[in-house]
């Protein structure tokens, strides 16, 4: 029934939709209550179908992409279709708890996700952070992932399996860093994290394949830590959000229109605040743009969150730059014949190099974040294989002697949305633009914090305050007041 009406929508039956509620002339006279019900049902169906109306029929000029066009207006526009963006969109609809409520639109300029950080991530989740807010976010995300089918299950669809491997994280500390690690573990224990400290002897006993030279102490996470498949999480969030009515379009935001332009040419001081009225969404490979009138804009553009705020249209006086830049990181995979077995955790070495097991067939993947002065050029995602040969492999082979003979496999590069101010996420409302919110800058742990950040932002939008997680310290104000909230455990 629905399909027939949908197919008729763009063709000759366009008129039929309007007459859906009217009874057929030759049918027996229905009781008026049933007629009313049919009219209401018809109106519901029209609401469901109206987003599909123009431009989504089966015909279009050849060569022009047939993706859905953005609507002319939306209540909330989420810029960025990565895991953080879809998490915000999902939580907005889930917490709203109302059908046909607000219209949420997710815009992603790269629908193949060729450069998105989400799908290129190593997929780890840990609670071993030094900042309590990060610990809370990770714990919330862990319980979200544990009950993922309660949250993201869609009727008549197969259940979600993120393939979580609960193997824990193992941080090794050299004698200089031992005190810092122990202090961090103390903070974590106070927040209720199950983490244990291991001496070199205990480490050798538990993981005999480690060479404990230069290791003073190690911290081993015992619960809700491990790794999972980020692509599955992204598609599950997307599928559930779309089943709850979120719209998704491919397009890039390249212009803002704010209420500051409504003011007469400047007389008096600059505006103290303004509101974004419209965004200009440019379609792929096109100079056309669709102005989308919106009430709230959420910046979930990940590594390009800072660049989004440099976009034309935001008034100079109200610009508040976000110190978020893309930083390229490599991940290398290799095969080792007699490497660490099933008990292998996600190991982070004293030198910063890290690796984890991938599957059960002897494959591993790992990498290392380079020091500040050796940052690779982030303009493309080409891989520098000599980085593995010269920097990563020697360090890992020193730590795990079995890795001295390995067979390198594939490698790829992805971006950290690096917050150069203090390497922590920025979550909250813009100080001057009253309807712009941001959730970005997680500097390498955005994937594991996405469910939590999405929920926090959705609560901020729907209720005006944080309820489940108090992330007020991660807001813009610390950037404005130049008070860094440093995260020590950035891998």
């Amino acid at each position: 029934m629905l399909r027939a009406v949908a197919e008729g929508g763009s063709g000759g039956c366009r008129g039929c939709r309007g007459h859906w509620g009217a009874p057929h002339p030759s049918a027996p006279p229905y009781p008026s209550e049933l007629g009313l019900r049919l009219r209401l049902m018809g109106r519901t169906l029209q609401d469901q179908l109206s987003p599909l109306a123009p431009g989504t029929g089966s015909w279009g000029p050849p060569g022009v992409p047939r993706d859905p066009q953005p609507p002319e207006e939306a209540d909330v526009v989420v810029v960025g279709g990565g895991v953080v963006g879809w998490s915000v969109a999902y939580w907005l609809k889930a917490l709203e708890a109302r059908r046909h409520g607000m219209r949420v639109l997710v815009l992603e300029r790269d629908p193949t996700y060729s450069r998105a950080s989400t799908v290129l991530s190593a997929g780890g989740i840990r609670q071993q952070f030094s900042l309590p807010e990060n610990i809370h976010m990770s714990r919330f995300s862990a319980s979200f992932l544990r009950n993922i089918n309660e949250y993201l299950g869609v009727p008549n669809e197969p259940p979600v399996d993120i393939q979580f491997q609960p193997s824990g994280y193992l941080f090794l500390a050299s004698p200089q860093d031992a005190e810092g690690l122990e202090a961090t573990v103390k903070v974590q224990r106070e927040e209720g994290v199950q983490v244990t400290l291991l001496s070199p002897a205990q480490l050798k006993d538990k993981f005999p394949w480690i060479d404990t030279e230069d290791v003073a102490v190690a911290s081993y996470g015992l619960e809700d830590e491990g790794w999972f498949d980020p692509w599955t999480l992204l598609t599950a969030l997307r599928r559930k959000a779309m089943s709850l009515g979120v719209l998704s379009c491919a397009g890039e935001v390249r212009g803002f229109v704010t209420s500051a332009e409504d003011l007469m040419p400047p007389r008096g001081p600059d505006p103290l605040s303004a509101r974004i009225k419209r965004i200009h969404v440019y379609m792929q490979d096109s100079l056309e743009y669709q102005p989308v009138t919106c009430a709230i804009v959420v910046n979930a553009a990940g590594a390009w969150a800072g660049e989004l705020l440099e976009t034309a249209g935001l008034p100079e006086a109200l610009r508040q730059p976000l110190p978020i830049q893309p930083r390229k990181r490599y991940i290398f995979s290799w095969h080792c014949h007699d490497g660490p077995g099933l008990s292998c955790p996600f190991l982070i070495d004293t030198t910063g190099a890290y690796f984890r097991r991938e599957g059960i067939a002897g494959n591993y993947l790992g990498g290392m974040s380079p020091p500040e002065e050796e940052e690779p050029d982030p303009s493309d995602l080409s891989v520098d294989h000599s980085y593995f040969q010269e920097q990563v492999w020697p360090r890992l082979a020193r730590r795990v002697p079995a890795f001295s003979s390995l067979r390198p496999g594939s490698s790829w590069a992805g971006y950290y949305d690096h917050n150069s101010f203090d390497r922590n996420g920025v979550v909250g409302a813009h100080p001057r633009l009253s309807n712009l919110l941001v959730a970005a800058g997680f500097s390498g742990h955005g994937l594991q914090h996405a469910p939590a950040a999405g929920r926090a932002l959705a609560e901020l939008v729907l209720k005006g305050r944080y309820e489940t997680l108090d992330l007020s310290r991660l807001g813009w104000s610390r950037l404005v007041q130049r008070e860094p909230l440093v995260e020590g455990g950035v891998v």
């Binding site: 609809k93 889930a94 009950n147 949250y151 619960e223 077995g341 099933l342 059960i360």
Partner: protein, 235 residues
Amino acid sequence: MRGGRGHARGAGPGLGGLDPYLGAPYIWGSPIGVASSPIHMGQPHRGCIQPHTYGAAQPHIPPPRTHMHLKDIYGPNVAAAAFTLSLGGSVRYEGQEQWLRPHGPWQERVLQLRSVPVWGLDLSACPVTYSGLGSLEPLPHLAHLDLSACPHVDDWTVARMRALAPSLRSLSLSRCPRVTERGLATLHHFRELRHLDVSGLNVPSPGLVRILLEEMLPGCRIVGMELDTPPKGTT
């Protein structure tokens, strides 16, 4: 109140309300071992999710007396035994030959044996979940645990059993549909394990997983996952 709201739906007084999602039934007017869970999974998801505070600045209001856990009143042995028996499982105490089965008036027996350590729990085919394992956690003498064919036991649940590792000598996870090799990888904490039954599990390349398990648990005898076992579902 957290425990109260979750149990209100479908749970009656006394031995009513078996709520598989919470894994902890409503008994004697007080919930047993309700671990913290972010949503009240006893309620169907109608799009309205109850908030649970994580580190939010709210004053701590102590729960009313009726919601104190059995663990706090009678001790861990009673909590674990009552939990198991009310789910339909059996309990064996240290020094006893017979298994205590959930037929007849077991409550008085459990209370009589409150200071006798629990030696073995048979929870096969019971609806025990991740949060239900909280009732079993402080059991320092548990040596035998049978979780075969439990429909809700998954990799997260297996990982949570780490607290029982110091004493457990025999574990069965056979035919649990949701346990995979990823959960089995967390069994390396179980140094005292001597018998592990992993037959009928859904894993890719069972022969390889068995070899890896034997490598991980050298002193343990592993049952199931032979190399020439036919794939699950065929005879």
